[in-house]
């Protein structure tokens, strides 16, 4: 938790600017999330990974966009790497997730992906 952050290679201003574009919706989504975990069963990845809670849509968006917002963009490459794993390895943006509150989770994941891409972090499909 208290790892020293090397934020030199990450442009926090840029991250904040992208977050600002969707500020209202993002803040509303983060606020309205009741942390109920009822979205879990609608994610096929959750169901097929032995119901591992780290695949729940709410977990994914709270730990990607949520983290970026709470830290106000002051993340380092390691944090972005973790976020990359969440939004690309554990989500395919099939947009079928269901939230009882009606939160648009795919848009939050897409926003996190956009921020990662802006910092040069993207999925590597050519890793052998």
């Amino acid at each position: 938790m208290f790892r020293k952050r090397n934020t030199a290679s990450v442009n926090s201003e840029e991250i904040r600017a992208i977050l600002d574009e969707k500020k209202t919706k993002m803040k509303l989504s983060l606020k309205a999330c009741a942390h109920c975990s009822l979205c879990a069963e609608s994610c096929f990845l959750f169901m097929s990974h032995d119901k591992n809670p780290k695949y729940m849509p709410s977990y994914k968006f709270l730990n990607s966009v949520g983290v970026l917002y709470k830290k106000k963009g002051n993340v380092d490459k390691l944090d972005l790497g973790e976020i990359r794993d969440i939004v690309w390895e554990r989500c395919v943006l099939c947009t079928r997730c269901y939230c009882p509150m009606g939160i648009d989770i795919p848009e939050m994941i897409a926003l996190a992906r956009r921020i990662c891409r802006s910092q040069g972090v993207y999925p590597q499909y050519d890793k052998e």
């Binding site: 209202t24 606020k31 309205a32 809670p53 780290k54 729940m56 009606g102």
Partner: protein, 237 residues
């Protein structure tokens, strides 16, 4: 007239009780109503109404043919696939909890007597033994939520301090109302004061916390067009 009040008067329970019962009720309702309207406005500003596409088959245009009536999804299938079919226990607990949460404060006799005293109008009231037992049901549901939050890993993983706080805040009016009615504690004023205070706090925090899901959910379900919308939604984000 001497308007200077002594400290002992300000900090007495009587004063607090009168304050909570009087001006504070107005304050909390005003904050609730205006706050909710403000949030409603914010949510509406995120929605737009696109033009609906209409298609008709014609030469050079191929549209997948509609299925025969036998292929229509039956109600049973739709139910099974909805959240009620997937999580029936949680769906029913939360439905009961929320329905009672809204109905009890409106139809309980005590509140209607106060309304009658203040404005001369009141709603139909539930008989006291029924509202008393329904309060127990609400407390039971809140305990089930607490159980989930503490003991189920998948909920614990995304739980924050606020979740516990707001669950307790939602449950305290019912618990204190129950205890006050039972006259469990000898200091009735204290318990009822807590009841009023927690109810007011709950109202005031609705627009600014996750309690906003009260209106957010209704708007999204009925107005936004999506896979899970109910009715004819015609707006999109």
């Amino acid at each position: 007239m001497n308007y200077i009040m002594e400290f002992s008067t300000i900090f007495s329970w009587t004063f607090a009780y009168d304050f909570l019962k009087g001006p504070m009720v107005w304050v909390s309702f005003i904050v609730f109503i205006f706050g909710t309207l403000f949030q409603l406005f914010k949510i509406s500003s995120l929605m737009s109404k696109p033009e609906r596409i209409r298609l008709s088959a014609g030469p050079g245009k191929f549209i997948s043919p509609p299925p025969s009536p036998e292929n229509k999804k039956s109600w049973y299938l739709r139910f099974k696939l909805s959240i009620a079919g997937v999580n029936p226990f949680m769906t029913s607990v939360t439905a009961v909890f929320h329905v009672l949460l809204l109905i009890l404060p409106i139809f309980v006799l005590g509140h209607n007597i106060l309304l009658n005293n203040a404005f001369g109008i009141s709603m139909v009231s539930l008989p006291e033994n029924i509202s008393h037992r329904l309060t127990l049901v609400v407390i039971l549901c809140a305990l089930i939520f607490l159980y989930r939050r503490i003991l189920l890993y998948r909920v614990r993983l995304i739980t924050t301090f606020e979740d516990y706080l707001f669950l307790i805040l939602a449950a305290v009016p019912f618990i204190s109302g129950f205890l006050a009615y039972e006259q469990f504690f000898s200091n009735y004023k204290l318990v009822i004061g807590l009841h009023i205070l927690s109810g007011e706090l709950m109202l005031m925090t609705v627009p600014f916390t996750k309690f906003i899901h009260m209106i957010f959910m209704l708007i999204v379900r009925f107005k936004i067009d999506g896979e899970y919308s109910l009715g004819n939604g015609d707006r999109v984000w």
